[in-house]
Amino acid sequence: MKTKLACKNVYLLNFSRNSTDRVTDKVPVKEKKLMDVKLGELPSWILMRDFTPKGIAGAFQRGYYRYYNKYVNVKRGGVAGISMVLAAYVLFNYCRCYKELKHERLRKYH
C-alpha cells in the first residue's frame, strides 16, 4: 500500500505538467540555493550545510569573489567598490566599541 502511494507520488511529480511546479521542486534539498528553499525546509537545509573549516573558508571565498566581481573587477569601477568595504569596516568597529561609546552620549542621565 505504501509503495503504491509512493509510486503514485513519483509518477505525479515526474510526469505531471502543472504550470505552477518549478524545476527546483525536483532538486534535493541539499543542493538548493537559499532563495529556492521552502520555509518548512529551512532548518534541515541549514543543518545540511558544510560547517567544516574547508566549507567555511569556501563560503568566505565565494562571498569575497561575488563582491569583488560585481563592484571592483569591472571595466570602469569607481570609489563605490572600496568605500562600501570601508564603511562596513567602520560600522563593524562601532559595534565593537559600543559598550564604551554609549557612555559618551549627550544625555542628562546615563
Binding site: 569583488y68 573587477n73 570602469r76 569601477g77 568597529n93 562601532y94 565593537r96 566599541c97 557612555h103
Partner: protein, 226 residues
C-alpha cells in the same frame, strides 16, 4: 575622560573573543592580486604605486640588496595601509602596539646584521670604528658604536609606536575639546580648524612608513654594500 582616552588602544575583543588577528589581516583584502596583463582600476593604481615606490627605493642597492625588494615593498604596503585604516573613526590600529612593532623591527634588523656579517665580515666589523679616530679614544668609541647598533631595532619600533599613538591621542583630545566647546562659539571654529589641520598632517603617517622603510633600508645598505 581619562579612562576612555586609552580604551581605543586595548586589544580588541568582541563578546570575549579576541579579534585582533582579523583586524591585522583586514588590509590584505584591499590589495587584490592581479590576474591579467591589464586589470581593473584598483589593481592598476596599486601596481603603479608599487612600481613607483620600488623603483625609487631600490635604485641605490646592489644586486644583493635588491633581493630584499619583496620584503621591503610588502612592509611598506602593510604599515602604510594599517596606519591609514587607523584614521577611520572607531578603528583599531595594530601599529600602536609596541609588541607588534618590535616583532617587525627586530627580525628585520637582525637579518640585515646577519647578512652583513656573513658576506662581508671584515667590513661589518670595521663599522664599529670610524676612520681617523685618535688612538686613546678607540675603546670608548667601539662601545658607543656597539650601543648605537643595538639601539637601532628599538628605535625603529618605538619611533613607529610613539608617532602613531601620539597622533591618535591628539585627535581624541582635540576632538573632545571641540565638542565640549560647541556651547562656547568662536573658539570652536579655531579648534575645529586645528583638528582638521592635525588630521591632514597625521595623514602623513604614510610619510612615517616611508621613514620606517627608509631607515631599515639605510641599515641594509650599510651592512651589505659598503
Amino acid at each position: 575622560m581619562n579612562e576612555n582616552l586609552f580604551t581605543s588602544f586595548i586589544t580588541p575583543t568582541m563578546v570575549g573573543i579576541p579579534i585582533v588577528l582579523l583586524i591585522i589581516m583586514f588590509p590584505s583584502i584591499l590589495f587584490p592580486s592581479p590576474s591579467r596583463l591589464i586589470d581593473n582600476r584598483l589593481v592598476s593604481i596599486q601596481q603603479w604605486l608599487v612600481r613607483l615606490t620600488s623603483k625609487q627605493m631600490l635604485s641605490i642597492h646592489s644586486h644583493k640588496g635588491q633581493t630584499w625588494a619583496l620584503m621591503l615593498m610588502s612592509l611598506i604596503l602593510f604599515i602604510g595601509s594599517t596606519n591609514l585604516l587607523g584614521l577611520l573613526p572607531h578603528s583599531f590600529t595594530p601599529t600602536t602596539q609596541l609588541s607588534m612593532n618590535l616583532g617587525m623591527a627586530i627580525p628585520l634588523w637582525a637579518g640585515t646584521v646577519a647578512t652583513g656579517f656573513r658576506y662581508k665580515t671584515k667590513a661589518s666589523l670595521a663599522h664599529f670604528l670610524p676612520q681617523g679616530t685618535p688612538f686613546p679614544l678607540i675603546p670608548m668609541l667601539v662601545i658607543i658604536e656597539t650601543i648605537s647598533l643595538f639601539i637601532q631595532p628599538v628605535a625603529l619600533a618605538v619611533r613607529l609606536t610613539a608617532n602613531i599613538t601620539a597622533g591618535h591621542l591628539l585627535i581624541h583630545l582635540i576632538g573632545g575639546a571641540t565638542l565640549t566647546l560647541t556651547s562656547i562659539s568662536t573658539i570652536t571654529a579655531f579648534i575645529t580648524l586645528t583638528v582638521l589641520v592635525l588630521l591632514t598632517i597625521l595623514e602623513f603617517a604614510v610619510a612615517l612608513i616611508q621613514a620606517y622603510v627608509f631607515t631599515l633600508l639605510v641599515s641594509l645598505y650599510l651592512h651589505d654594500n659598503t
